[in-house]
Subunit: 248 residues, 2 copies
């Protein structure tokens, strides 16, 4: 397959390197990723400054970096830089999970969504990283196997998939669950401080309150499964249309 | 009602000023908006720099600005700065429409989505601006009337509404349509140039191909109606869950 590979941790991050190593053996991988870490950029795009693309070498193969966001990279890749369109767009592997409402903030997921807007099947991939485990290889090999087994189906079905991996070696992963997005609540998110000049400032922080409902991405990870959530880009609340038509 | 008012064009932009003028007559309006224009920031949040809030005067009333994104402002407002929680969050009025897929890129809509995450009803409002028409007052008065007539219902139903206004005076607006998000395609989005040193760069640009299907936001605006689209924050593609469960 011809794959456009991007991420939001930057082209030199370990997650994208793990994918590049594994996928470039069997596939034609065109890498175009941000030059630096762009986490929590949401679906930002760059309208007011010129975008530049630079060729570099990563893991012994050619890759490209751009001075933009993950969404910029997908747009640039498809519409300006790639010699021919990709069969699939892969974004990741992100350092840290993207679960539930996280998908709205995640640069990793936004890149996949952008690919979907442009008409391509797309996969966002993220790994739970914890102390003592930050090995992206099992997740990269899982994605490689996924493409070998189901790549055609994912591509022809134009799926937009959000994958999350538990921090485990292959032999400890229980399997795969198809899931819904969970609802995660953040609380106590601002740490109020006073600077040396007496001025107040805030750090965004916070604790996630996980609701580990069965069937959700969060639950699957907690049970040591890989989570695959199919996403839609249709944000219309169709059920409410009827209700509102009675009012307006 | 107690309203948290924000936007993505900055606290001094005409759209938020028009709302502040009209709404502060009947409601308790707490304004907290970015200090500068933050368009196309998507759902970005600020994790790596301290956020500061400053009190200023806008339209003869107190307002607040912050050095963050629209989503930051909503989080800060609700969780750090407002003395008590709002009944409703309003974001806008944006300079330019937010239709179809635009909702993913829009700081205006993201602020409303953020409010919804935090459990509050929320309205995003945007105005089509064209040469010869950039008057935000009709849209502001429409929102004021909407709150008087349906504010309770919107608040109790915890709606997340995306409003778009045509560039028309009140007497020329045909009415209101409850709509779905349209599918807008952007094409030819990069302008490739060479700088004086011989280096290639790209400007993101592009033409929108509108599909004015009946029932959509784009269609309603084209027919001189105000468009109201109820949004969901559930991006799970529920129909595909079954399909994928056959594979995994």
């Amino acid at each position: 397959m011809r794959i456009l590979l991007t991420n939001d941790d930057g082209v030199y991050a370990p997650g994208i390197r793990a994918l590049l190593r594994v996928l470039s053996e069997k596939h034609e991988v065109f890498t175009l990723a941000p030059e630096r870490e762009m986490s929590a950029t949401g679906h930002a795009i760059t309208l007011h400054k010129p975008l530049r693309v630079k060729e570099v070498e990563v893991e012994g193969v050619r890759a490209n970096l751009a001075n933009g966001t993950p969404s910029d990279c997908v747009k640039l890749g498809v519409e300006a830089v790639m010699p021919s369109p990709p069969d699939l767009i892969i974004s990741g592997i992100n350092f840290g999970p993207n679960l539930g409402n996280d998908v709205f903030y995640s640069g990793t997921v936004s890149a996949a969504v952008e690919g979907h807007f442009l008409g391509f099947p797309a996969i966002a991939a993220s790994l739970v990283v914890k102390e003592g485990f930050s090995d992206f290889s099992p997740a990269a090999r899982y994605i490689d196997a996924l493409l070998s087994e189901h790549g055609e189906k994912i591509a022809s079905g134009k799926y937009l998939l959000n994958l999350n991996f538990p921090p485990l070696r292959e032999q400890d992963i229980k399997g795969t669950k198809v899931t819904t997005l969970s609802h995660r609540n953040y609380s106590n998110v601002f740490d109020r401080r006073v600077d040396p000049r007496g001025e107040v400032y805030y750090w965004m922080t916070g604790r996630v309150e996980e609701k580990e409902e069965e069937g959700t991405d969060t639950h699957a990870l907690a049970k040591n499964f890989v989570s695959i959530t199919p996403l839609t880009i249709d944000l219309t609340h169709h059920q409410q249309i009827k209700e509102l038509k009675k009012i307006f």
